[in-house]
Subunit: 706 residues, 2 copies
Amino acid sequence: MTALWAIVLCGALSILYAIWATASVMKSDAGNPRMQEIAAAVREGAQAYLKRQYMTIGMVGIVIFALLAYFLGMLVAVGFLVGAVLSGAAGFIGMNVSVRANVRTAQAATISLAGGLELAFKAGAITGMLVAGLALLGVTIYFAYLTQFLGLGANSRTVVDALVALGFGASLISIFARLGGGIFTKGADVGGDLVGKVEAGIPEDDPRNPATIADNVGDNVGDCAGMAADLFETYAVTAVATMVLAAIFFATSPLLVNMMTLPLAIGGICIITSIAGTFFVKLGASQSIMGALYKGLIATGVLSLVGVAAVIYWLIGFGPLAGVKYTGMALFECGVVGLAVTGLIIWITEYYTGTDYRPVKSIAASSVTGHGTNVIQGLAISMESTALPAMVIIAGILVTYSLAGLFGIAIATTTMLALAGMIVALDAFGPVTDNAGGIAEMAGLPKEVRKATDALDAVGNTTKAVTKGYAIGSAGLGALVLFAAYNEDLKFFIANAAKYPYFQGVLPDFSLNNPYVVVGLLFGGLLPYLFGAMGMTAVGRAAGAIVEEVRRQFREKPGIMQGTDKPDYGRAVDLLTKAAIKEMIIPSLLPVLSPIFVYFAIYAIAGGGAAGKSAAFSAVGAMLLGVIVTGLFVAISMTSGGGAWDNAKKYIEDGHYGGKGSDAHKAAVTGDTVGDPYKDTAGPAVNPMIKITNIVALLLLAILAH
Amino acid sequence: MTALWAIVLCGALSILYAIWATASVMKSDAGNPRMQEIAAAVREGAQAYLKRQYMTIGMVGIVIFALLAYFLGMLVAVGFLVGAVLSGAAGFIGMNVSVRANVRTAQAATISLAGGLELAFKAGAITGMLVAGLALLGVTIYFAYLTQFLGLGANSRTVVDALVALGFGASLISIFARLGGGIFTKGADVGGDLVGKVEAGIPEDDPRNPATIADNVGDNVGDCAGMAADLFETYAVTAVATMVLAAIFFATSPLLVNMMTLPLAIGGICIITSIAGTFFVKLGASQSIMGALYKGLIATGVLSLVGVAAVIYWLIGFGPLAGVKYTGMALFECGVVGLAVTGLIIWITEYYTGTDYRPVKSIAASSVTGHGTNVIQGLAISMESTALPAMVIIAGILVTYSLAGLFGIAIATTTMLALAGMIVALDAFGPVTDNAGGIAEMAGLPKEVRKATDALDAVGNTTKAVTKGYAIGSAGLGALVLFAAYNEDLKFFIANAAKYPYFQGVLPDFSLNNPYVVVGLLFGGLLPYLFGAMGMTAVGRAAGAIVEEVRRQFREKPGIMQGTDKPDYGRAVDLLTKAAIKEMIIPSLLPVLSPIFVYFAIYAIAGGGAAGKSAAFSAVGAMLLGVIVTGLFVAISMTSGGGAWDNAKKYIEDGHYGGKGSDAHKAAVTGDTVGDPYKDTAGPAVNPMIKITNIVALLLLAILAH
């Protein structure tokens, strides 16, 4: 009980930090009236979009809430609600801070680079801390409510189901937000660039381009709100899955409650270390922005090492643990592996997307021979970039499993995700600086200001790529934990078939010899491909609509190009809002419905009865792994590849291979355009889709048990 | 014994057909001296390349031969030699016919379209029949030699190992030929287009382009010899794996020999139906070339239905089979499923790559807004195109497994591959017509001739795509059969651990709960990505070298562009030969060495001993499935996507969206360039890499057993 209170306190601390930081951002200078006018347009667009998005998700949510309440009871349905509302809130608040910090960052950059960095990072940190804090508070308080207030057993089915439903609520927001936000932002970006840069020959963020406000809105709803929902979900789902595993592995151990509390405690202590880390982000004498950010990240990592050790020592000790073969020390070592995996994945992603290394340089070099070779080399790099992260994840699995079995993998993943506060801070920094650059351009601020915001923006590109690598790596590991939970849950129901008669005679066979397993693997494997295809097509369609709209405005108001008439920014925002909302629905439902479809299809094909159930459970389990296996590669190749294309363009713009305007630059712009939906729509949305498939399978088990 | 002789007779029939058809091709008119001069240059280049390629493979082969002879005995090593030599021979002879038929097809097209079609298809059919015939003869005669002449038991280890080694020999040729040929052909194509079409502004196949002979050489060594080796391998490996499964499932049955003969008999009868089918290929009143080819394919399919039924009835009857729960009729139904899967995959591939349907049209439409949107839509289509073939394969597995278990899947795959003669004929038709077009252009034949060869060439593009879909689908199914063989083989060694002491105490656990299985799946999953990345990069490098060489020639001999000086075609061919040979080695060794690496790495990590062996065998098994799961999607997306890009360009060239020279056309050329290494290098080479991984694992088992 003390532990839970301490964890709640940590969560509360993150809220306090957010309030303090928000106040500190808000009292900064908001710039001149022209800047404020632009910022207001961006803010209104973003708010209007999110409102519409959440209303649509709300309708889907109400249906699911009712279904859960009917099948699994009110406590489970409320868990779903808690997850959904908090996930939405983290994104919504973060986005609201972001759309206010953008203009202030632009203003601060007129004075000094250090000031701009401080403001932008603080704004990002608000989102980061809210993601980690709200996720931790949601899971902890609801767990405490169920176990302490209602007196349910920590590993009773209702508690487990309610926690899983909480994860599902978060997942649902996350897939819609990632996909809807991703379609919005890249529809605006690709469409705006095509008609502005290519056709009209005006620079990016030129105020004459009717799509430019929409582009800035997109940064906030995609990179900020979408990312926040995504990591909220991974954080909550991983904590929940680790708790479920603890509930199963330590069911009869005196350590049960402490073991279930452990993932929450790790989350709690790492919020403190993340907040502490934010104060290490300071521009040094070298003026290296990336260096300043890394200082904060490294400080958080080192402090977390100590913190996690303390928490484990306090809750379970370093010695042998009752009922299992490993020690508390081994679990700590698993935590260290989690931190090491984080560090390695960040380093590898930077290697593949940074302008200082072979991959990006090779894409830039291949741009000299044209659009085609740029894309070929970019695709080659995108595929190659999957190998090392996969090897790191493989090594992580092998080491932690040998240290402490499946629970070791879970603790490593939990520790990895406990840093989410700091990592989201790095990521949410990106859209703020991106917007600040846009506002500086549109408001006609002096060139030096744009130079400062450009420097911040370039670093934002790298941090965005790096965070995506982290998000996907952790999602892959998190999904393995979820698969373990599915498997253990299934075992539990079968062992207690007397109480859960549906499972009578069920004998799932997860062996690769079982053709239903092969079928499940293949079916799971195709989901990320189909989902990715839908995401890419949606961006293409949305961008096409924007191109038409902008052409129409240029045609009907010739004064826009002369600067004598104002473009109608609102229409572009409105059009994209509708397109994104419409396009996000079907792909989002794909992972929700797939496990249910596979279960009942295989059940019928295998002849029904206990044999049919066994075959169907095996196929669904295999499908969960199939979706991870291809999903991991699809997601990493898309996000790293997209980042590499983006920075290859920047590398050329820095004066290599003829610089801006050269033929190589034109080819690099093509690569960047291709990379846009890769890295910001389809790729990152694979994350939540992997986990949603897993979590729906867990809920399906619970529903069938009833 | 009678059956084996009958099968050998069928194989001999294919050789007779090839001899007859070759004579008939050779006596056609070889055109005017200018055409013959060009054709001679192409022929010399192709022969020089293949000679060098086979010498390099020979050196690798000698090492492997020695290793096999040392570890597994001379009979096994000779099996390897038989597979390698015959696979190489099929490609070599086919290519030699192809480089003679090209100029004759061009000449025939000066008289009539029907004549051109007849000649080109006959040339393709020679390669097709040789592939099926030599593969069948190799497996059958060596099997007969071992069992009848040497008197070894049909399911003795030596026979099984020797057959597996035969498959390995074929695989080794196939991966080198696919990759080396693919790098050559696309290096020439991409490089030649970049510097010719884009920089110098001269049309494709213009004799002033020094890379143009290399481009025509590439068609022959890549699409003809490479494809032949690939399907030879799939054919041989599937027959062998089905025989191995029969040896295991029917070990104690009186039907043993007949069951092991069955896959060979199905192959034999389908050679006859394929030869019969070639005579149905006739240009009808509608002048539809595709229609004429489909007539032949459909005739072969229908005749095969009857033939397979007859063979099954003759060898094992339609009634219940001793020792298993299914009937001969069920096995026939599995054969029907195999034919249905072939038909469906061909139909789906045509949908995704044909100019009449949504996918290609959508890529063409997206070209209007530029290079970026063309590539985005192409990538979306490439990802989407994996879903339906995967579903067909899933359905095929489910149906055949429920009919006759694992052996049912094997029989379906065998039947699917028995059509290889006809399918390769359709494919090998492509490079002949492609070359014919090139020769017509370079020899300055009248426009009408070029129009006829272009019509043939466009159909060749579709048949090439369709065949690749078939090759990959069958490879995916074939690999499942190989995995089953691995698994059954392992069970056999463990059951007889007294005789094979290495397997004492080994208890592999292929369950998805086993982290070593998850690790194996992930490691297997990354191989196609890494391999694909290497293939794409190699093409980029080779193309870059060609661009430099052509630029150098243009610079040093300004007379080339004026037509007063002759380009040095030989240097481009020579340069590509060296590049392709060098670039093919490391990627080809990746699948050969990976199973060995994974086995020993996991063995060490899991602490050695019986536990280490168990973990390692589990991981290697999972790796085999991992490589299939991602490999299937990577390969289908690349080959279908590439075909769609190619035909989207053709669709625009047919006069849509502004036609040739429009901005949309330029964007479509970019997409086509990207699609080139996708569809002709990396994508198809994934095929043999999937199977080579599997077959090396089988050999590893045999070696460890010794």
